[in-house]
């Protein structure tokens, strides 16, 4: 197997809006590379809408709410546009071909993040936490590196953003979505000619206890197949 995807549980929880922010980030990032999963999520959203549509308490009218809304749109009739102007002072360098949601999260670009070396061939840039307690980070593996066998605590999600890596279960390319649970040990390695950039989200609370050990466990994989 070379391609790994979030399964129906992940996609339906995404469509229902019950995934945590950081998990939704991983799924949403995967969609930038995977039309099939995006389509499935869109169908799963229709499934939710179907139930949404059957909810009935039709007798209840809400003239006051309508008046509030009408007076709001009368004050602001312009159907405001999205797309806020981008004003990045720093030039964006590094990996530029990234999904929109990642670019929104790191408008400064990957090179301007604060990277820390956590091993001879592996670096981490911690990103700001989203609306939950999971820690969000980018990991960079140098070409030709091998991360030694490792285990980890809690659930970890990895989405490959650039390059590739492999472990005993397969080879992973941009967009591949991997989840590894506690107790699942593996040792990822990269090919000799390109570095690998990954988004990782892990359950462990953002505390610096066991910092070093935990950060050596970035590339964790458990395949979720269709």
């Amino acid at each position: 197997m070379t391609n790994f995807h979030p399964d129906t549980k992940w996609l339906s929880e995404y469509a229902a809006g019950t995934l945590s922010d950081s998990q939704a980030l991983c799924v949403s990032t995967h969609f930038a590379y995977c039309q099939k999963c995006k389509q499935e999520a869109s169908e799963l959203t229709q499934l939710g809408a179907m139930v949404f549509n059957t909810q009935t308490n039709d007798n209840e009218s809400a003239p006051d709410l309508l008046q509030n809304v009408l007076s709001h749109i009368n004050k602001d009739p312009g159907q405001a546009d999205v797309a806020p102007p981008q004003n990045n002072s720093q030039p964006v360098t590094g990996h530029t071909d990234l999904p929109t949601v990642i670019k929104t999260l790191i408008p400064e670009g990957t090179d301007n993040l604060s990277w820390k070396k956590i091993g001879p061939q592996i670096s981490i840039a911690k990103l700001s936490n989203l609306g939950d307690t999971r820690s969000v980070a980018l990991h960079k593996l140098q070409p030709g590196s091998t991360v030694s066998d490792h285990d980890h605590h809690g659930l970890e999600i990895t989405v490959v953003l650039d390059g590739s890596f492999s472990d005993q279960d397969g080879k992973y390319f941009p967009g591949d979505f991997l989840v590894r649970k506690a107790g699942e040990v593996h040792s990822p390695c990269t090919s000799n000619d390109e570095e690998c950039l990954c988004l990782t989200v892990c359950d462990a609370p953002v505390k610096f206890t066991g910092f070093f050990t935990r950060l050596l466990n970035p590339l964790v994989a458990y395949q979720h197949k269709h």
Partner: protein, 216 residues
């Protein structure tokens, strides 16, 4: 997975910016039942800023959005929150109407997605959670669609409407818990005593039924 797709091209589930008047549009109230009359209404609002049409749309969806707000299993749930949700959602519908495209989404799916995102953002506000990404960043609704994902939904709208009536009660119950009450699969399993796999398989069965009504 497709390699080599430019990830920047889009992130959107539905909709696209619409600037031109949809051709052949008719807003006659006794218009013979269109495939998705609310889709036409939203497109009409986008072009004409018609407050009367908006009022009809409001009166139809307000009870559904309110029920969606009240159904959330959270100690934050209250009639006030549900009323706020109705207002947030309908203001957004007005502001973003031009991003709606009936070729890509049904009106109710689009409004459900907006309500979902508003409910997520509203809960964050109540819980005083700050995040660099909004629900619309993580669950995009308003951006450019993928040309590949074009589905002629309007044509099969009537069949989709019927699907829900054909589902067994046990599937409807799971759908309601997952989508409307905002429970994770694990929470549904724990509260109902069903195995986790059963929750997922009921959802899949309902999905298969829906797919059979979707255009190939």
């Amino acid at each position: 997975m497709t390699l080599g797709v430019n990830p920047d091209e889009n992130q959107s589930e539905f909709g696209t910016a619409r600037t031109q008047t949809p051709s052949g549009y008719s807003m006659h109230p006794d218009h013979e039942k269109p495939f998705d009359e609310w889709a036409e209404t939203i497109e009409h609002i986008a072009v004409n800023q018609d407050r009367e049409a908006f009022t009809r749309l409001f009166n139809h969806f307000c009870p559904k959005i309110k029920a969606y707000g009240m159904a959330l299993k959270s100690h934050h749930t209250s009639p006030e929150m549900a009323d706020e949700l109705v207002q947030d959602v309908m203001i957004k519908v007005w502001q973003k109407a031009k991003y709606f495209n009936s070729d890509k989404a049904r009106a109710s799916t689009w409004i459900f997605a907006i309500a979902r995102n508003c409910r997520i953002d509203y809960l964050r506000k109540l819980k005083r959670i700050s995040s660099p990404l909004t629900a619309d960043d993580l669950w995009p609704v308003f951006e450019e669609p993928d040309p590949v994902s074009v589905m002629d939904l309007a044509r099969s709208s009537a069949q989709i409407e019927q699907v829900v009536n054909t589902l067994p009660a046990e599937q409807i119950t799971v759908l309601r818990e997952v989508y409307i009450e905002g429970k994770t699969h694990a929470e549904v399993a724990k509260q109902t005593g069903l195995p986790l796999g059963t929750v997922k398989s009921r959802l899949r069965l309902a999905m298969d039924r829906l797919r059979s009504a979707l255009p190939a």
